[in-house]
Symmetry: C2
Subunit: 329 residues, 2 copies
Protein backbone atom coordinates (compact mmCIF):
# COMPACT_ATOMS: atom_id res chain seq x y z
CA UNK A 1 0.00 0.00 0.00
CA UNK A 2 1.38 3.39 -0.92
CA UNK A 3 1.81 5.92 1.87
CA UNK A 4 -0.05 9.19 2.25
CA UNK A 5 2.33 11.91 1.04
CA UNK A 6 2.33 14.88 3.43
CA UNK A 7 3.68 18.36 2.74
CA UNK A 8 4.45 20.81 5.55
CA UNK A 9 3.95 24.51 4.89
CA UNK A 10 5.86 26.60 7.44
CA UNK A 11 8.59 25.13 9.58
CA UNK A 12 8.27 26.62 13.07
CA UNK A 13 7.24 24.82 16.27
CA UNK A 14 4.09 23.47 14.64
CA UNK A 15 5.84 22.39 11.43
CA UNK A 16 8.49 20.55 13.42
CA UNK A 17 5.70 18.86 15.37
CA UNK A 18 4.05 17.73 12.13
CA UNK A 19 7.35 16.31 10.93
CA UNK A 20 7.60 14.24 14.13
CA UNK A 21 3.94 13.16 13.94
CA UNK A 22 4.30 12.00 10.33
CA UNK A 23 7.27 9.87 11.40
CA UNK A 24 5.08 8.33 14.13
CA UNK A 25 2.43 7.20 11.61
CA UNK A 26 3.69 4.35 9.41
CA UNK A 27 1.04 4.90 6.73
CA UNK A 28 2.41 8.39 5.98
CA UNK A 29 5.56 9.87 4.55
CA UNK A 30 6.91 13.37 4.45
CA UNK A 31 7.16 14.50 0.82
CA UNK A 32 8.51 18.03 1.25
CA UNK A 33 8.72 21.03 3.56
CA UNK A 34 7.84 24.48 2.19
CA UNK A 35 9.13 27.69 3.71
CA UNK A 36 9.18 31.39 2.95
CA UNK A 37 12.75 31.43 4.19
CA UNK A 38 15.72 30.58 1.95
CA UNK A 39 15.39 26.77 1.73
CA UNK A 40 19.13 26.38 2.21
CA UNK A 41 18.79 27.98 5.65
CA UNK A 42 16.08 25.58 6.87
CA UNK A 43 17.43 22.49 8.61
CA UNK A 44 14.87 19.72 9.07
CA UNK A 45 15.15 16.43 10.95
CA UNK A 46 14.15 14.05 8.14
CA UNK A 47 16.89 12.89 5.84
CA UNK A 48 16.39 12.99 2.09
CA UNK A 49 13.30 15.18 2.25
CA UNK A 50 13.52 18.36 0.16
CA UNK A 51 13.00 21.82 1.63
CA UNK A 52 11.46 24.03 -1.04
CA UNK A 53 10.57 27.66 -1.51
CA UNK A 54 6.91 28.29 -0.82
CA UNK A 55 6.80 30.24 -4.09
CA UNK A 56 7.42 26.98 -5.99
CA UNK A 57 4.69 24.95 -4.30
CA UNK A 58 2.46 24.77 -7.37
CA UNK A 59 4.97 22.48 -9.08
CA UNK A 60 4.18 19.89 -6.38
CA UNK A 61 0.61 19.41 -7.55
CA UNK A 62 0.01 15.68 -7.82
CA UNK A 63 3.09 14.87 -5.73
CA UNK A 64 1.65 15.70 -2.31
CA UNK A 65 -1.62 14.21 -1.05
CA UNK A 66 -2.23 16.65 1.82
CA UNK A 67 -0.55 19.93 2.74
CA UNK A 68 -0.50 20.59 6.48
CA UNK A 69 -0.44 24.34 6.96
CA UNK A 70 1.60 25.43 9.96
CA UNK A 71 1.43 29.22 9.69
CA UNK A 72 -0.21 31.63 12.10
CA UNK A 73 -3.89 32.49 12.27
CA UNK A 74 -3.37 36.26 12.27
CA UNK A 75 -1.96 36.76 8.78
CA UNK A 76 -0.68 33.48 7.24
CA UNK A 77 -3.67 31.14 7.20
CA UNK A 78 -6.40 33.56 6.07
CA UNK A 79 -4.42 33.93 2.83
CA UNK A 80 -2.59 30.60 2.56
CA UNK A 81 -5.37 28.12 3.25
CA UNK A 82 -7.69 29.29 0.43
CA UNK A 83 -4.73 29.74 -1.96
CA UNK A 84 -3.39 26.27 -1.34
CA UNK A 85 -6.83 24.63 -1.17
CA UNK A 86 -7.15 25.56 -4.83
CA UNK A 87 -4.27 23.16 -5.54
CA UNK A 88 -4.09 20.60 -2.72
CA UNK A 89 -6.05 18.92 0.02
CA UNK A 90 -5.17 20.99 3.09
CA UNK A 91 -5.47 20.90 6.87
CA UNK A 92 -4.94 23.95 9.08
CA UNK A 93 -5.18 24.94 12.74
CA UNK A 94 -6.88 28.31 12.23
CA UNK A 95 -7.77 29.30 15.79
CA UNK A 96 -9.30 32.79 15.71
CA UNK A 97 -12.72 31.59 16.88
CA UNK A 98 -14.62 34.72 15.82
CA UNK A 99 -13.32 34.55 12.25
CA UNK A 100 -13.97 30.84 11.63
CA UNK A 101 -17.16 31.38 9.57
CA UNK A 102 -15.38 33.75 7.15
CA UNK A 103 -12.35 31.47 6.92
CA UNK A 104 -14.57 28.45 6.28
CA UNK A 105 -16.36 30.30 3.48
CA UNK A 106 -13.09 31.37 1.84
CA UNK A 107 -11.63 27.85 1.96
CA UNK A 108 -14.88 26.32 0.72
CA UNK A 109 -15.01 28.72 -2.24
CA UNK A 110 -11.47 27.75 -3.23
CA UNK A 111 -11.73 24.00 -2.59
CA UNK A 112 -15.05 23.18 -4.29
CA UNK A 113 -14.09 24.16 -7.86
CA UNK A 114 -10.69 22.51 -7.34
CA UNK A 115 -12.23 19.27 -6.07
CA UNK A 116 -10.06 19.36 -2.96
CA UNK A 117 -10.82 18.93 0.75
CA UNK A 118 -9.81 21.58 3.29
CA UNK A 119 -10.23 20.74 6.96
CA UNK A 120 -9.87 23.92 9.00
CA UNK A 121 -9.46 24.75 12.70
CA UNK A 122 -7.94 21.40 13.67
CA UNK A 123 -6.09 21.03 16.96
CA UNK A 124 -7.37 20.97 20.51
CA UNK A 125 -9.24 24.27 20.82
CA UNK A 126 -10.63 24.60 18.26
CA UNK A 127 -10.51 20.87 17.67
CA UNK A 128 -10.82 18.20 20.34
CA UNK A 129 -12.39 20.62 22.82
CA UNK A 130 -14.95 21.67 20.19
CA UNK A 131 -15.82 18.02 19.56
CA UNK A 132 -16.34 17.45 23.24
CA UNK A 133 -18.54 20.53 23.57
CA UNK A 134 -20.61 19.22 20.64
CA UNK A 135 -20.95 15.60 21.74
CA UNK A 136 -21.81 16.60 25.31
CA UNK A 137 -24.42 19.15 24.22
CA UNK A 138 -26.10 16.62 21.93
CA UNK A 139 -26.29 14.01 24.70
CA UNK A 140 -27.36 16.37 27.48
CA UNK A 141 -29.37 19.17 25.84
CA UNK A 142 -30.54 20.32 29.29
CA UNK A 143 -27.18 21.39 30.64
CA UNK A 144 -24.31 23.81 30.44
CA UNK A 145 -20.71 23.46 29.36
CA UNK A 146 -17.60 25.17 30.59
CA UNK A 147 -14.13 25.29 29.08
CA UNK A 148 -11.10 25.90 31.28
CA UNK A 149 -7.61 26.34 29.84
CA UNK A 150 -4.31 25.50 31.47
CA UNK A 151 -2.18 25.13 33.29
CA UNK A 152 -0.25 26.22 30.24
CA UNK A 153 1.83 28.79 28.46
CA UNK A 154 0.02 31.51 26.55
CA UNK A 155 2.29 32.74 23.80
CA UNK A 156 0.19 35.86 23.22
CA UNK A 157 0.30 36.89 26.87
CA UNK A 158 4.04 36.14 27.12
CA UNK A 159 4.59 38.38 24.08
CA UNK A 160 2.48 41.14 25.65
CA UNK A 161 4.68 41.12 28.76
CA UNK A 162 7.84 41.22 26.67
CA UNK A 163 6.62 44.47 25.11
CA UNK A 164 6.56 46.17 28.55
CA UNK A 165 9.42 48.66 29.05
CA UNK A 166 12.19 47.18 31.15
CA UNK A 167 11.25 43.55 30.44
CA UNK A 168 13.92 41.38 28.86
CA UNK A 169 12.03 38.07 28.71
CA UNK A 170 8.85 36.56 30.12
CA UNK A 171 6.64 33.51 30.29
CA UNK A 172 2.96 33.60 31.18
CA UNK A 173 0.90 30.65 32.44
CA UNK A 174 -2.88 30.52 32.27
CA UNK A 175 -4.12 28.63 35.33
CA UNK A 176 -7.68 27.36 35.81
CA UNK A 177 -9.14 28.07 39.25
CA UNK A 178 -9.76 24.78 41.09
CA UNK A 179 -12.66 26.20 43.10
CA UNK A 180 -14.42 27.24 39.89
CA UNK A 181 -13.97 23.77 38.38
CA UNK A 182 -15.30 22.17 41.55
CA UNK A 183 -18.33 24.48 41.46
CA UNK A 184 -18.97 23.41 37.86
CA UNK A 185 -18.59 19.73 38.72
CA UNK A 186 -21.12 20.12 41.53
CA UNK A 187 -23.78 20.57 38.85
CA UNK A 188 -24.85 23.98 40.14
CA UNK A 189 -24.29 25.60 36.71
CA UNK A 190 -22.62 28.66 38.22
CA UNK A 191 -22.24 31.93 36.32
CA UNK A 192 -18.50 32.56 36.44
CA UNK A 193 -16.70 35.80 35.69
CA UNK A 194 -13.45 35.91 33.77
CA UNK A 195 -11.64 36.53 37.06
CA UNK A 196 -13.27 33.54 38.74
CA UNK A 197 -12.28 31.07 36.02
CA UNK A 198 -8.57 31.65 35.43
CA UNK A 199 -5.48 33.09 37.09
CA UNK A 200 -2.53 34.55 35.21
CA UNK A 201 0.93 33.70 36.49
CA UNK A 202 3.85 35.69 35.06
CA UNK A 203 7.55 34.92 35.23
CA UNK A 204 9.52 37.99 34.23
CA UNK A 205 13.19 38.71 33.57
CA UNK A 206 13.76 42.45 34.06
CA UNK A 207 16.53 44.46 32.47
CA UNK A 208 19.23 45.58 34.88
CA UNK A 209 18.14 48.62 36.86
CA UNK A 210 14.53 48.42 35.67
CA UNK A 211 11.72 49.67 37.93
CA UNK A 212 10.19 46.38 39.07
CA UNK A 213 7.17 47.96 40.74
CA UNK A 214 6.36 49.85 37.56
CA UNK A 215 6.68 46.69 35.45
CA UNK A 216 4.43 44.74 37.80
CA UNK A 217 1.84 47.50 37.78
CA UNK A 218 1.89 47.85 34.00
CA UNK A 219 1.38 44.10 33.55
CA UNK A 220 -1.41 43.81 36.11
CA UNK A 221 -3.38 46.73 34.68
CA UNK A 222 -2.91 45.86 31.00
CA UNK A 223 -6.36 45.94 29.38
CA UNK A 224 -7.68 42.76 27.66
CA UNK A 225 -4.62 40.75 28.67
CA UNK A 226 -4.43 41.03 32.47
CA UNK A 227 -6.71 43.69 33.96
CA UNK A 228 -9.69 41.32 34.27
CA UNK A 229 -7.68 38.60 36.03
CA UNK A 230 -5.96 37.96 39.31
CA UNK A 231 -2.38 38.15 38.13
CA UNK A 232 0.82 37.28 39.93
CA UNK A 233 4.18 38.63 38.75
CA UNK A 234 7.40 36.88 39.74
CA UNK A 235 10.79 38.32 38.84
CA UNK A 236 13.48 35.74 38.08
CA UNK A 237 16.83 35.58 36.30
CA UNK A 238 17.23 34.64 32.65
CA UNK A 239 18.98 31.47 33.80
CA UNK A 240 15.98 30.49 35.93
CA UNK A 241 13.56 31.25 33.10
CA UNK A 242 15.58 29.17 30.65
CA UNK A 243 15.94 26.34 33.14
CA UNK A 244 12.44 26.15 34.65
CA UNK A 245 10.16 27.54 31.95
CA UNK A 246 11.53 26.41 28.63
CA UNK A 247 8.68 24.01 27.75
CA UNK A 248 5.41 24.90 26.06
CA UNK A 249 2.96 22.83 28.12
CA UNK A 250 -0.76 23.43 27.94
CA UNK A 251 -4.09 21.70 28.37
CA UNK A 252 -7.45 22.27 29.92
CA UNK A 253 -10.89 20.93 30.63
CA UNK A 254 -14.27 20.77 28.92
CA UNK A 255 -16.94 19.99 31.50
CA UNK A 256 -20.65 19.69 30.84
CA UNK A 257 -23.17 19.05 33.56
CA UNK A 258 -26.71 18.26 32.61
CA UNK A 259 -29.90 16.70 33.83
CA UNK A 260 -32.35 14.07 32.71
CA UNK A 261 -35.51 12.62 34.20
CA UNK A 262 -39.15 13.65 34.21
CA UNK A 263 -38.30 16.67 36.38
CA UNK A 264 -34.58 17.01 35.69
CA UNK A 265 -33.90 15.12 38.92
CA UNK A 266 -30.95 13.08 37.58
CA UNK A 267 -27.56 14.78 37.26
CA UNK A 268 -24.69 13.77 34.99
CA UNK A 269 -21.16 15.08 34.45
CA UNK A 270 -19.18 14.67 31.23
CA UNK A 271 -15.56 15.78 31.49
CA UNK A 272 -12.72 15.82 28.97
CA UNK A 273 -9.26 16.97 29.89
CA UNK A 274 -5.86 17.32 28.29
CA UNK A 275 -2.47 17.63 29.97
CA UNK A 276 -0.03 18.35 27.19
CA UNK A 277 3.73 18.27 27.53
CA UNK A 278 3.97 20.38 24.39
CA UNK A 279 1.16 22.40 22.90
CA UNK A 280 2.59 22.47 19.33
CA UNK A 281 3.53 18.77 19.33
CA UNK A 282 0.03 17.77 20.41
CA UNK A 283 -1.67 20.16 17.99
CA UNK A 284 0.42 18.80 15.15
CA UNK A 285 -0.47 15.23 16.14
CA UNK A 286 -4.14 16.14 15.75
CA UNK A 287 -3.41 17.86 12.42
CA UNK A 288 -1.76 14.73 11.06
CA UNK A 289 -4.69 12.48 12.07
CA UNK A 290 -7.02 14.86 10.21
CA UNK A 291 -4.64 14.91 7.23
CA UNK A 292 -5.38 11.19 6.93
CA UNK A 293 -9.10 11.98 6.98
CA UNK A 294 -8.70 14.73 4.36
CA UNK A 295 -6.94 12.28 2.05
CA UNK A 296 -9.67 9.67 2.49
CA UNK A 297 -12.52 12.14 2.03
CA UNK A 298 -10.92 13.36 -1.20
CA UNK A 299 -10.48 9.75 -2.36
CA UNK A 300 -14.19 9.17 -1.77
CA UNK A 301 -14.99 12.17 -3.99
CA UNK A 302 -15.78 14.74 -1.31
CA UNK A 303 -14.65 18.33 -1.70
CA UNK A 304 -14.94 21.69 0.02
CA UNK A 305 -14.24 23.04 3.48
CA UNK A 306 -14.80 20.79 6.50
CA UNK A 307 -14.25 21.00 10.23
CA UNK A 308 -13.78 18.33 12.88
CA UNK A 309 -17.58 18.30 13.18
CA UNK A 310 -17.90 16.92 9.63
CA UNK A 311 -15.39 14.10 9.89
CA UNK A 312 -16.54 10.61 10.91
CA UNK A 313 -14.10 9.38 13.60
CA UNK A 314 -13.19 6.17 11.71
CA UNK A 315 -11.58 8.27 8.97
CA UNK A 316 -8.87 9.35 11.42
CA UNK A 317 -7.56 5.86 12.04
CA UNK A 318 -5.07 3.84 10.01
CA UNK A 319 -6.99 0.70 11.07
CA UNK A 320 -9.76 -0.63 8.87
CA UNK A 321 -13.39 -0.34 10.05
CA UNK A 322 -13.80 -4.05 10.89
CA UNK A 323 -10.65 -3.95 13.01
CA UNK A 324 -11.90 -0.85 14.83
CA UNK A 325 -15.26 -2.49 15.55
CA UNK A 326 -13.64 -5.66 16.83
CA UNK A 327 -11.04 -4.02 19.05
CA UNK A 328 -11.95 -0.46 20.01
CA UNK A 329 -15.76 -0.39 20.10
CA UNK B 1 -40.24 21.76 10.07
CA UNK B 2 -41.71 18.35 10.81
CA UNK B 3 -40.35 16.49 13.79
CA UNK B 4 -38.38 13.25 13.73
CA UNK B 5 -40.83 10.49 14.65
CA UNK B 6 -39.31 8.08 17.17
CA UNK B 7 -40.57 4.63 18.09
CA UNK B 8 -39.49 2.85 21.27
CA UNK B 9 -39.20 -0.94 21.20
CA UNK B 10 -39.21 -2.34 24.75
CA UNK B 11 -40.36 -0.28 27.71
CA UNK B 12 -38.05 -1.05 30.63
CA UNK B 13 -35.52 1.29 32.25
CA UNK B 14 -33.92 2.08 28.90
CA UNK B 15 -37.23 2.59 27.09
CA UNK B 16 -38.42 4.96 29.81
CA UNK B 17 -35.13 6.85 29.45
CA UNK B 18 -35.66 7.17 25.70
CA UNK B 19 -39.15 8.53 26.31
CA UNK B 20 -37.68 11.22 28.60
CA UNK B 21 -34.85 12.00 26.16
CA UNK B 22 -37.24 12.43 23.22
CA UNK B 23 -39.22 14.91 25.32
CA UNK B 24 -35.98 16.84 25.97
CA UNK B 25 -35.29 17.25 22.23
CA UNK B 26 -37.74 19.68 20.59
CA UNK B 27 -37.02 18.42 17.06
CA UNK B 28 -38.36 14.96 17.95
CA UNK B 29 -41.65 13.41 18.86
CA UNK B 30 -42.61 10.05 20.25
CA UNK B 31 -44.78 8.23 17.71
CA UNK B 32 -45.43 4.95 19.53
CA UNK B 33 -44.12 2.51 22.10
CA UNK B 34 -43.93 -1.21 21.23
CA UNK B 35 -43.95 -3.95 23.81
CA UNK B 36 -44.18 -7.72 23.99
CA UNK B 37 -46.44 -7.28 27.00
CA UNK B 38 -50.18 -6.70 26.70
CA UNK B 39 -50.29 -3.04 25.56
CA UNK B 40 -53.13 -2.34 27.97
CA UNK B 41 -50.81 -3.22 30.86
CA UNK B 42 -48.04 -0.81 29.83
CA UNK B 43 -48.37 2.65 31.38
CA UNK B 44 -46.19 5.28 29.72
CA UNK B 45 -45.56 8.90 30.71
CA UNK B 46 -46.47 10.59 27.44
CA UNK B 47 -50.10 11.44 26.89
CA UNK B 48 -51.77 10.55 23.62
CA UNK B 49 -49.00 8.24 22.44
CA UNK B 50 -50.14 4.73 21.55
CA UNK B 51 -48.67 1.61 23.13
CA UNK B 52 -48.75 -1.19 20.58
CA UNK B 53 -48.06 -4.89 20.43
CA UNK B 54 -44.60 -5.60 19.07
CA UNK B 55 -46.23 -8.17 16.78
CA UNK B 56 -48.03 -5.34 14.94
CA UNK B 57 -44.94 -3.20 14.36
CA UNK B 58 -44.84 -3.79 10.61
CA UNK B 59 -48.02 -1.73 10.19
CA UNK B 60 -46.02 1.30 11.38
CA UNK B 61 -43.75 1.30 8.32
CA UNK B 62 -43.65 4.87 7.01
CA UNK B 63 -45.09 6.26 10.25
CA UNK B 64 -41.91 6.06 12.36
CA UNK B 65 -38.60 7.57 11.23
CA UNK B 66 -36.33 5.73 13.68
CA UNK B 67 -36.99 2.83 16.04
CA UNK B 68 -34.90 2.95 19.20
CA UNK B 69 -34.43 -0.62 20.39
CA UNK B 70 -34.36 -0.94 24.15
CA UNK B 71 -34.12 -4.70 24.62
CA UNK B 72 -31.26 -6.68 26.14
CA UNK B 73 -28.09 -7.72 24.37
CA UNK B 74 -28.26 -11.36 25.43
CA UNK B 75 -31.36 -12.47 23.53
CA UNK B 76 -33.50 -9.51 22.35
CA UNK B 77 -31.20 -7.42 20.15
CA UNK B 78 -29.43 -10.19 18.21
CA UNK B 79 -32.86 -11.09 16.80
CA UNK B 80 -34.74 -7.76 16.92
CA UNK B 81 -32.21 -5.38 15.41
CA UNK B 82 -31.80 -7.24 12.10
CA UNK B 83 -35.54 -7.99 11.92
CA UNK B 84 -36.54 -4.38 12.46
CA UNK B 85 -33.70 -2.95 10.33
CA UNK B 86 -35.45 -4.64 7.40
CA UNK B 87 -38.39 -2.25 7.97
CA UNK B 88 -37.11 0.83 9.81
CA UNK B 89 -34.05 2.90 10.57
CA UNK B 90 -32.92 1.57 13.93
CA UNK B 91 -30.55 2.40 16.78
CA UNK B 92 -29.55 -0.08 19.47
CA UNK B 93 -27.23 -0.32 22.48
CA UNK B 94 -25.90 -3.83 21.82
CA UNK B 95 -23.09 -4.13 24.36
CA UNK B 96 -21.67 -7.66 24.16
CA UNK B 97 -18.26 -6.46 22.92
CA UNK B 98 -17.09 -9.84 21.65
CA UNK B 99 -20.18 -10.32 19.47
CA UNK B 100 -20.23 -6.87 17.87
CA UNK B 101 -18.72 -8.02 14.53
CA UNK B 102 -21.39 -10.70 14.07
CA UNK B 103 -24.17 -8.34 15.13
CA UNK B 104 -22.89 -5.66 12.75
CA UNK B 105 -22.87 -8.16 9.86
CA UNK B 106 -26.42 -9.32 10.62
CA UNK B 107 -27.79 -5.77 10.81
CA UNK B 108 -25.90 -4.74 7.68
CA UNK B 109 -27.30 -7.69 5.73
CA UNK B 110 -30.84 -6.71 6.71
CA UNK B 111 -30.50 -2.94 6.31
CA UNK B 112 -28.78 -2.71 2.92
CA UNK B 113 -31.50 -4.32 0.81
CA UNK B 114 -34.13 -2.39 2.79
CA UNK B 115 -32.34 0.93 2.27
CA UNK B 116 -32.38 1.62 6.01
CA UNK B 117 -29.70 2.74 8.45
CA UNK B 118 -28.94 0.74 11.60
CA UNK B 119 -26.58 2.28 14.15
CA UNK B 120 -25.53 -0.38 16.62
CA UNK B 121 -23.74 -0.42 19.99
CA UNK B 122 -24.67 3.14 20.95
CA UNK B 123 -24.37 4.28 24.56
CA UNK B 124 -21.33 5.00 26.68
CA UNK B 125 -19.40 1.71 26.56
CA UNK B 126 -19.68 0.77 23.78
CA UNK B 127 -20.32 4.32 22.61
CA UNK B 128 -18.75 7.45 24.03
CA UNK B 129 -15.90 5.50 25.63
CA UNK B 130 -15.21 3.78 22.30
CA UNK B 131 -15.08 7.16 20.56
CA UNK B 132 -12.62 8.43 23.10
CA UNK B 133 -10.43 5.35 22.75
CA UNK B 134 -10.44 5.89 18.98
CA UNK B 135 -9.77 9.64 18.94
CA UNK B 136 -7.00 9.33 21.52
CA UNK B 137 -5.30 6.45 19.71
CA UNK B 138 -5.36 8.34 16.41
CA UNK B 139 -3.81 11.44 17.98
CA UNK B 140 -1.22 9.65 20.09
CA UNK B 141 -0.31 6.45 18.22
CA UNK B 142 2.67 5.95 20.56
CA UNK B 143 0.73 5.40 23.76
CA UNK B 144 -1.59 3.17 25.72
CA UNK B 145 -5.19 3.52 26.79
CA UNK B 146 -6.97 2.30 29.88
CA UNK B 147 -10.67 2.09 30.64
CA UNK B 148 -11.89 2.14 34.23
CA UNK B 149 -15.54 1.63 35.13
CA UNK B 150 -17.41 3.01 38.11
CA UNK B 151 -18.19 3.90 40.71
CA UNK B 152 -21.42 2.32 39.58
CA UNK B 153 -23.97 -0.42 39.83
CA UNK B 154 -23.37 -3.60 37.85
CA UNK B 155 -26.72 -5.21 37.17
CA UNK B 156 -25.10 -8.52 36.18
CA UNK B 157 -23.08 -8.77 39.39
CA UNK B 158 -26.07 -7.75 41.52
CA UNK B 159 -28.09 -10.51 39.86
CA UNK B 160 -25.30 -13.04 40.52
CA UNK B 161 -25.36 -12.23 44.23
CA UNK B 162 -29.15 -12.56 44.36
CA UNK B 163 -28.78 -16.13 43.09
CA UNK B 164 -26.71 -17.09 46.18
CA UNK B 165 -28.61 -19.24 48.69
CA UNK B 166 -29.83 -17.15 51.63
CA UNK B 167 -29.68 -13.83 49.77
CA UNK B 168 -32.89 -11.85 49.56
CA UNK B 169 -31.66 -8.77 47.70
CA UNK B 170 -28.33 -7.22 46.71
CA UNK B 171 -26.63 -4.37 44.97
CA UNK B 172 -23.06 -4.49 43.64
CA UNK B 173 -20.85 -1.49 42.88
CA UNK B 174 -17.83 -1.65 40.61
CA UNK B 175 -15.21 0.74 41.97
CA UNK B 176 -12.07 1.85 40.09
CA UNK B 177 -8.88 1.79 42.17
CA UNK B 178 -7.55 5.34 42.61
CA UNK B 179 -3.95 4.16 42.89
CA UNK B 180 -4.23 2.38 39.54
CA UNK B 181 -5.68 5.49 37.88
CA UNK B 182 -2.90 7.61 39.33
CA UNK B 183 -0.30 5.15 38.04
CA UNK B 184 -1.85 5.41 34.58
CA UNK B 185 -1.92 9.21 34.71
CA UNK B 186 1.77 9.24 35.63
CA UNK B 187 2.48 8.08 32.09
CA UNK B 188 4.30 4.95 33.23
CA UNK B 189 2.01 2.71 31.12
CA UNK B 190 1.68 0.11 33.90
CA UNK B 191 0.50 -3.43 33.26
CA UNK B 192 -2.47 -3.79 35.57
CA UNK B 193 -4.17 -6.99 36.65
CA UNK B 194 -7.93 -7.29 36.97
CA UNK B 195 -7.54 -7.09 40.75
CA UNK B 196 -5.43 -3.93 40.57
CA UNK B 197 -7.92 -2.00 38.43
CA UNK B 198 -11.28 -2.45 40.16
CA UNK B 199 -12.80 -3.32 43.52
CA UNK B 200 -16.21 -4.94 43.98
CA UNK B 201 -18.40 -3.62 46.77
CA UNK B 202 -21.48 -5.68 47.68
CA UNK B 203 -24.50 -4.64 49.75
CA UNK B 204 -26.47 -7.73 50.69
CA UNK B 205 -29.83 -8.33 52.36
CA UNK B 206 -29.80 -11.84 53.86
CA UNK B 207 -32.83 -13.94 54.57
CA UNK B 208 -33.63 -14.37 58.22
CA UNK B 209 -31.43 -17.00 59.83
CA UNK B 210 -29.13 -17.31 56.83
CA UNK B 211 -25.45 -18.23 57.30
CA UNK B 212 -23.77 -14.88 56.67
CA UNK B 213 -20.24 -16.27 56.64
CA UNK B 214 -21.24 -18.83 54.03
CA UNK B 215 -22.88 -16.15 51.87
CA UNK B 216 -19.83 -13.90 52.09
CA UNK B 217 -17.53 -16.79 51.19
CA UNK B 218 -19.66 -17.88 48.26
CA UNK B 219 -19.75 -14.36 46.84
CA UNK B 220 -16.03 -13.71 47.25
CA UNK B 221 -15.01 -16.99 45.61
CA UNK B 222 -17.53 -16.89 42.75
CA UNK B 223 -15.59 -17.53 39.51
CA UNK B 224 -15.70 -14.85 36.75
CA UNK B 225 -17.77 -12.48 38.85
CA UNK B 226 -15.78 -11.96 42.06
CA UNK B 227 -12.89 -14.40 42.52
CA UNK B 228 -10.41 -12.21 40.60
CA UNK B 229 -11.26 -9.05 42.57
CA UNK B 230 -10.86 -7.65 46.04
CA UNK B 231 -14.46 -7.85 47.15
CA UNK B 232 -16.15 -6.42 50.22
CA UNK B 233 -19.48 -7.77 51.43
CA UNK B 234 -21.72 -5.64 53.67
CA UNK B 235 -24.92 -7.00 55.16
CA UNK B 236 -27.73 -4.47 55.51
CA UNK B 237 -31.49 -4.48 55.95
CA UNK B 238 -33.94 -4.29 53.06
CA UNK B 239 -34.94 -0.83 54.29
CA UNK B 240 -31.34 0.36 54.12
CA UNK B 241 -30.88 -1.11 50.65
CA UNK B 242 -34.06 0.54 49.41
CA UNK B 243 -33.14 3.85 51.01
CA UNK B 244 -29.43 4.11 50.21
CA UNK B 245 -28.96 2.04 47.06
CA UNK B 246 -32.03 2.56 44.92
CA UNK B 247 -30.31 4.54 42.13
CA UNK B 248 -28.51 3.11 39.12
CA UNK B 249 -25.47 5.40 38.97
CA UNK B 250 -22.46 4.53 36.85
CA UNK B 251 -19.60 6.09 34.97
CA UNK B 252 -15.91 5.64 34.43
CA UNK B 253 -12.75 6.88 32.81
CA UNK B 254 -10.93 6.46 29.51
CA UNK B 255 -7.33 7.58 29.91
CA UNK B 256 -4.65 7.50 27.24
CA UNK B 257 -1.09 8.53 27.88
CA UNK B 258 1.25 8.89 24.95
CA UNK B 259 4.47 10.44 23.83
CA UNK B 260 5.68 12.64 21.02
CA UNK B 261 9.04 14.15 20.14
CA UNK B 262 12.12 12.93 18.32
CA UNK B 263 12.81 10.47 21.14
CA UNK B 264 9.39 10.25 22.76
CA UNK B 265 10.52 12.79 25.34
CA UNK B 266 7.21 14.68 25.50
CA UNK B 267 4.34 13.17 27.50
CA UNK B 268 0.63 13.88 27.08
CA UNK B 269 -2.50 12.72 28.90
CA UNK B 270 -5.98 12.58 27.36
CA UNK B 271 -8.74 11.78 29.83
CA UNK B 272 -12.49 11.41 29.40
CA UNK B 273 -14.77 10.70 32.31
CA UNK B 274 -18.45 10.23 33.01
CA UNK B 275 -20.29 10.51 36.33
CA UNK B 276 -23.81 9.38 35.62
CA UNK B 277 -26.71 9.77 37.99
CA UNK B 278 -28.55 7.07 36.04
CA UNK B 279 -26.93 4.62 33.67
CA UNK B 280 -30.11 3.92 31.63
CA UNK B 281 -31.13 7.59 31.40
CA UNK B 282 -27.70 8.57 30.10
CA UNK B 283 -27.50 5.63 27.68
CA UNK B 284 -30.90 6.51 26.30
CA UNK B 285 -29.85 10.15 25.86
CA UNK B 286 -26.96 8.95 23.69
CA UNK B 287 -29.33 6.63 21.77
CA UNK B 288 -31.66 9.52 20.97
CA UNK B 289 -28.82 11.75 19.68
CA UNK B 290 -27.80 8.89 17.37
CA UNK B 291 -31.42 8.38 16.31
CA UNK B 292 -31.22 11.92 14.89
CA UNK B 293 -28.06 10.92 13.01
CA UNK B 294 -29.69 7.73 11.70
CA UNK B 295 -32.59 9.75 10.34
CA UNK B 296 -30.27 12.22 8.61
CA UNK B 297 -28.01 9.53 7.15
CA UNK B 298 -31.07 7.79 5.70
CA UNK B 299 -32.31 11.10 4.28
CA UNK B 300 -28.95 11.55 2.55
CA UNK B 301 -29.36 8.12 0.96
CA UNK B 302 -27.02 6.10 3.16
CA UNK B 303 -27.95 2.59 4.24
CA UNK B 304 -26.55 -0.36 6.13
CA UNK B 305 -25.08 -0.93 9.58
CA UNK B 306 -23.06 1.85 11.21
CA UNK B 307 -21.42 2.43 14.55
CA UNK B 308 -20.50 5.62 16.41
CA UNK B 309 -17.20 5.48 14.51
CA UNK B 310 -19.00 6.06 11.21
CA UNK B 311 -21.10 9.04 12.25
CA UNK B 312 -19.81 12.58 11.70
CA UNK B 313 -20.40 14.49 14.97
CA UNK B 314 -22.41 17.29 13.33
CA UNK B 315 -25.14 14.78 12.46
CA UNK B 316 -25.93 14.40 16.16
CA UNK B 317 -26.89 18.03 16.68
CA UNK B 318 -30.21 19.76 16.04
CA UNK B 319 -28.23 22.91 15.19
CA UNK B 320 -27.27 23.58 11.58
CA UNK B 321 -23.59 23.30 10.55
CA UNK B 322 -23.01 27.08 10.24
CA UNK B 323 -24.42 27.61 13.73
CA UNK B 324 -22.17 24.86 15.11
CA UNK B 325 -19.09 26.40 13.48
CA UNK B 326 -19.92 29.87 14.76
CA UNK B 327 -20.72 28.88 18.33
CA UNK B 328 -19.20 25.54 19.31
CA UNK B 329 -16.01 25.23 17.26
Amino acid sequence: MSKIRIGIVGYGNLGRGVELAVAANPDMELAAVFSRRDPASVKILAEGVPVCALADIESWKGKVDVMVLCGGSATDLPRQTPELAAMFNVVDSFDTHAKIPAHFAAVDAAARPAGTVGIISVGWDPGMFSLNRLYAECILPQGKDYTFWGRGVSQGHSDAIRRVKGVKDARQYTVPVEAAMDAVRSGSCPDLTTRQKHLRECWVVAEEGADLAAIENEIKTMPNYFADYDTTVNFISQEELDRDHKGIPHGGFVIRTGNTGANGETGHIIEYSLKLGSNPEFTSSVLVAYARAAFRLAQKGHCGAKTVFDVAPALLSPRDPADLRAHLL
